[in-house]
């Protein structure tokens, strides 16, 4: 699972909003299994992520991630992927799963937004 992806600092769409004005730490994906959310545990990011999730993801994954449909229920990411959860998340949103209905968000949402959304998702994981 070597990848040349470099998760770079966020530019673009949402950078003008004050709460996103600071560049996030650079996460290198040379060793994707070690991929880590730069905002992990940050409650402000989780709250912002909830709002972004509800704008961009909820049409398929349900508002506040309360999806009744198991394949689309992102509260089960930790149960499914455990420590690989960040890596699977990042790979999926930046490549899509076209045959499952998941678009590739590259060029639409910058990495900062993706990790902000991920911070929210980490806060709503169901117990195994």
């Amino acid at each position: 699972m070597k990848s040349s992806i470099v998760v770079a600092g966020a530019v673009g769409l949402l950078a003008t909003q004050s709460w996103l004005a600071t560049a996030p730490p650079v996460v290198r994906a040379d060793d994707v299994t070690a991929m880590k959310n730069p905002y992990e545990g940050d409650p402000l990011r989780a709250a912002q992520g909830r709002s972004l999730f509800n704008q961009f993801c909820a049409h398929c994954h349900a508002p506040n991630a309360i999806s009744p449909d198991p394949p689309k229920d992102l509260r089960r990411l930790r149960v499914r992927y455990a420590e690989k959860m960040p890596e699977v998340f990042y790979f999926t949103v930046t490549h899509g799963r076209p045959d499952k209905g998941m678009p590739n968000w590259t060029g639409i949402l910058p990495d900062e937004t993706l990790w902000t959304i991920f911070t929210f998702l980490q806060s709503v994981q169901s117990q195994p």
Partner: protein, 562 residues
């Protein structure tokens, strides 16, 4: 063919003989999605009626071989029943209408990635039939003609590139020698169009865009380039009035849902009404020219699509028989329009409505409650109805004998806020955050409503605990049939709403039932298979819906015991 001619003769005779009722009605067969060109879903059959419906039992069942989102209305032509499945469709089946024996199936290759550009489930609502041909629109943007005897593909035409975020979910409208279709895509910023093709060749005859290009009439209703991704998708079925030579289609929400790029982002929107979104359009059959339009939700930001089916009827309005079109709109108002001129006759709320006080009969415009219009980064809370609408695509039915319209309604409210969003081809383009899991007043979430369209008032209601109930069928047997999301299929008394019979079909029922007669026996048929995507919008209520019945895909056919 002889049999069909006889059926047509019967239904033509019925049209001529009708006094002040439905402008057409189905005979012994079910030859068109809405039961007749007027979309009434009324059947003249009365062998099954209020006195014996409690004896109804299953005659046979066909498994459809596809799960999720069964939204198909079967057709019955002669002794053949045609039914499509979910999956865009995954299959079109021709089966013996008497015992369910398969005759042929059509299994198109539909690319799996249509899931990305299909907002609300991998559905298909059925086929249209004429001259031994079936016409079916597909989620990959193609319209195809099939030989009704063999299922062989006769021609295939691309209506729209699905990569744009478009899909065809509903059967086309047939008028003269044309096959007319719209497409979905209001959630992806497509520009809507209605297109007519030659039934024999699939060649395009005309195309009318529902959103004008800059410089065209009505383009002044869009600021800047906002028209380019303005929505106005005609994704549900049309209606046809052969006498007026008009075909009618409704159009979806303006795109994106968030309105800040499409106008001044306030209730005092002036000229920025974003034509012809959230409207009913009357098109000349021969040219596609827009003869009249009526916009139900100007400058929409609530996702109040204007697509709901028009039911055509001739009603006594102030002592004068008037050709009307009836529409129970997503926005919660029931509209009666003169279908010749487009003039508004009346509009009243048929569910709890609080985004607008009323509809001004002079201007035809809703009088908005400004607090209930979400704006950029400003929440509007507890807006009723929610974006599923007072009614969605699930069909209503008009019974000329009771004079009532039977409407499958929602009782849900929502919170919305506008957001900035960039357009990208094929991606969701909503520009709003939303919370839909807000039951309306009264503790129920949907209701089969009997509505008097002349006096614009409620006559009775049959409440359902969970939302997303099935469409209606009404018959000369004094009955209203409908299903619910838990999978119960019910017969109600058309006059009182009292429940006369029910059957657990095991998976949610969304589409309306049909009825037909073969060899002197009346059958009632309904497709089951619970929806997945729309319930997912509802959070905890969605979890209750998923718990209430399993996914499925089956056609149930009922009869009276011999």
């Amino acid at each position: 063919m002889l049999r069909l001619s006889a059926i047509l003769a019967v239904s033509l005779a019925a049209i001529a003989a009708l006094p002040v009722a439905g402008f057409a009605e189905s005979g012994k067969s079910w030859i068109i999605y809405g039961g007749d060109q007027a979309n009434t879903r009324f059947s003249t059959l009365s062998q099954v009626n209020t006195s014996n419906v409690n004896k109804l039992k299953v005659a046979w069942v066909v498994q459809l071989g596809s799960l999720e989102a069964q939204e198909s209305t079967p057709l019955v032509i002669g002794d053949t029943l045609y039914v499509t499945t979910s999956g865009g469709p995954k299959y079109v089946y021709a089966i013996n209408a008497k015992d369910g024996t398969p005759k042929w199936k059509y299994a198109p290759e539909i690319p799996a990635d249509v899931q990305q550009t299909t907002c609300c489930g991998l559905d298909n609502r059925g086929v249209a039939f004429a001259n031994d041909k079936l016409f079916v629109g597909r989620l990959d943007g193609y319209l195809v003609a099939l030989d009704a005897k063999t299922g062989k593909e006769l021609w295939k035409t691309q209506v729209v590139d699905y990569h744009e975020g478009a899909a065809i979910t509903s059967p086309p409208t047939l008028a003269k020698d044309l096959v007319i279709t719209g497409y979905a895509g209001g959630e992806y910023g497509i520009r809507g169009a209605i297109t007519a093709y030659d039934q024999n060749t699939g060649k395009q005859v005309w195309r009318t865009y529902t959103v004008p290009v800059a410089g065209e009439p009505a383009s002044e209703t869009w600021p800047g380039d906002s028209w380019k991704h303005g929505g106005g998708a005609a994704w549900l079925v049309g209606s046809y009035d052969p006498k007026l030579n008009l075909v009618y289609y409704g159009t979806s929400n303006a795109a994106p849902w968030g309105a800040s790029e499409r106008g001044p982002d306030k209730s005092d929107y002036g000229k920025f009404v974003n034509l012809y979104t959230a409207s009913t359009l009357a098109l000349d059959v021969d040219t596609g020219k827009i003869v009249w339009y009526y916009q139900t939700t100007p400058y929409d930001t609530w996702d109040y699509d204007g697509v709901n089916e028009l039911v055509l009827a001739d009603l006594d309005i102030n002592g004068k028989k008037t050709p009307v079109a009836l529409k129970a709109d997503r926005n919660g108002f029931f509209y009666v329009l003169n279908r010749q001129t487009g003039a508004l006759i009346s509009a009243q709320p048929f569910v709890t409505v609080n985004w607008a006080k009323s509809v001004d009969l002079e201007t035809g415009r809703p009088i908005e409650v400004p607090d209930k219009r979400p704006r950029l980064d400003v929440w509007a809370k507890d807006i009723c109805p929610n974006l599923f609408g007072g009614k969605n695509w699930e069909h209503m039915a008009f019974n000329p004998q009771t004079g009532l319209v039977y409407i499958p309604t929602f009782n849900l409210c929502m919170d919305l806020v506008g957001k900035k969003e960039e357009y990208k081809k094929g991606a969701f383009y909503l520009g709003e955050e939303w919370d839909l899991d807000k039951p309306g007043p009264g503790g129920f979430m949907s209701e089969m409503l009997a509505w008097d369209p002349i006096n614009q008032k409620r006559v009775w209601g049959s409440k359902e605990e969970l939302p997303i109930m099935g469409g209606a069928l009404t018959t000369a047997g004094g009955l209203v049939f409908h299903g619910n999301i838990q999978g119960w299929f019910k017969a109600l008394d058309a006059k009182t709403g009292s429940e006369l019979w029910k059957f657990n079909a095991g998976s949610g029922i969304s589409q309306g039932a049909i009825t037909y007669e073969l060899d002197g026996k009346q059958y009632v048929a309904v497709v089951t298979g619970r929806l997945k995507t729309p319930p997912s919008f509802l959070g905890h209520t969605g979890e209750r819906i998923f718990a209430s019945s399993a996914e499925g895909g089956a056609l149930f056919v009922f009869e009276l015991p011999n």
